[in-house]
Subunit: 227 residues, 2 copies
DNA sequence: GAAACTCGATACCGACCGGTATTGAATACC
DNA sequence: GGTATTCAATACCGGTCGGTATCGAGTTTC
């Protein structure tokens, strides 16, 4: 795809009143609609006509911005996963003491779990798609490795800055974090009452004994009295 | 559906050589084929013609035994989930000392994760289907609660018989077990190298400190042989 | 052994979906 | 201001799938 250097060398000189939306705007509204429709009905069960309609457009608009349905799905996942990881890590980076860190991580993950159940379903279906398409699978594997690496770096910072030691290699801690987040999201999706809001936080403190120590030193009871 | 009382009041008196398979045999072979085909290509992406062909039959045979595709899927999941749970719990019940228990649970779950990746993908898609069908969702929720209850009973036995105490309420431990098993299976599905075989075992021992104590007293390394 | 019944194969229908060719309008360029 | 180009709406095609009607072979019953 030839990229149009509008932003750099060619100011679009938007003529005050514009009847037709920018190509970029159209593309983005299609992506937003795709996230909504796919999340609601699933990828395979959603037609491009539905997606286009949700964006206030028609199928022609979709095919004008994306080569195929697969291309749209790929772009959507790529797009959303990116901002999702950065958002999650922002909570860790912003914290300054262990208590805040554990709370932030747990809070972010739990909120994701609750409010973005649709995203988790989408991700699950995407994983299934990837299994059938080796190219997609390899891409997803690399992306997943990158995400884990980012978490590993965050955990490493936690160790160096706060002296928190983990009972497992941080690479395995990262895998565990993803697995727990996804797994609990799945259970929560089918039965929200079965997954207490503070469960993930409790498990995280259990898996980071040093954090517990620090918390207890601060006069906090991380387990909330659930002996 | 009127049930045919063949087994109780009407012995089928199988006439030595039988050309046409029993209704029950046909139904079972369709179910087996469905597990294979759905597991490979996904439920939505598989046609009933494919399923029937894999069973050496045609679509007519499927519709002769199942009212609809949804009905087939429901029966398949119901069927397989049942024998899966009983198989998992059998490993726990058969064990007599904590070392064996932890190893059995971890081994069973890991083996499921590795060898039955197809089933986990199927389950994931089934969860997604359930989200769109309230009736299916409620049924799945109840089934899930039953499965958790079975695990809770097993954990309770562990506590009473071996004195193992868990750092979380056993109801939450059960949820955690499911979430971990599924979550790690998903990660393993996309990148097997990222999930060490013994990771689940290590986490389980971390979550059951008493078991660790007992294991150390016995001079055993709990992370040793998770085949 | 023949009638009544069961069950699966075959053929087919209606609907839907991904993708394409074309067309007309909005925009950019000169 | 006139022309070339971009972009989305429309119409349509090929193909597939779930589901149904029907028919014939296999089975049970009397």
């Amino acid at each position: 795809m030839p990229d149009s250097p509008t932003a750099v060398a060619n100011p679009p000189k938007t003529p005050a009143s514009r009847v037709r939306p920018t190509r970029r705007e159209t593309r983005q509204s299609v992506l937003d609609a795709a996230l909504e429709v796919f999340g609601e009905h699933g990828i395979a069960a959603s037609s491009l006509t539905d997606v286009a309609a949700a964006a206030g457009l028609t199928k022609g608009a979709v095919y004008s911005s994306f080569a195929s349905k697969d291309d749209l799905v790929l772009a959507l996942m790529e797009d959303h996963a990116m901002q999702r990881i950065t958002a999650s890590l922002a909570g860790v980076a912003a914290a300054v003491d262990p208590h805040e860190i554990v709370n932030n991580v747990a809070a972010v993950l739990v909120r994701e779990m609750r409010t973005d159940a649709a995203w988790h379903r989408l991700l699950a279906e995407y994983f299934a798609m990837a299994h059938r398409d080796p190219r997609l699978k390899e891409a997803l594997r690399e992306r997943r490795a990158e995400a884990r690496a980012a978490v590993v770096r965050a955990l490493d910072t936690l160790t160096e800055v706060h002296g928190i030691e983990f009972p497992l290699p941080i690479e395995e801690m990262a895998v565990l974090l993803f697995a727990l987040s996804n797994g609990l999201a799945v259970e929560s999706g089918i039965d929200p009452d079965a997954v207490p809001d503070d469960l993930l936080g409790k498990v995280l403190t259990l898996l980071a004994p040093e954090a517990i120590t620090l918390l207890n030193q601060a006069g906090q009871d991380p387990t909330g009295g659930a002996a």
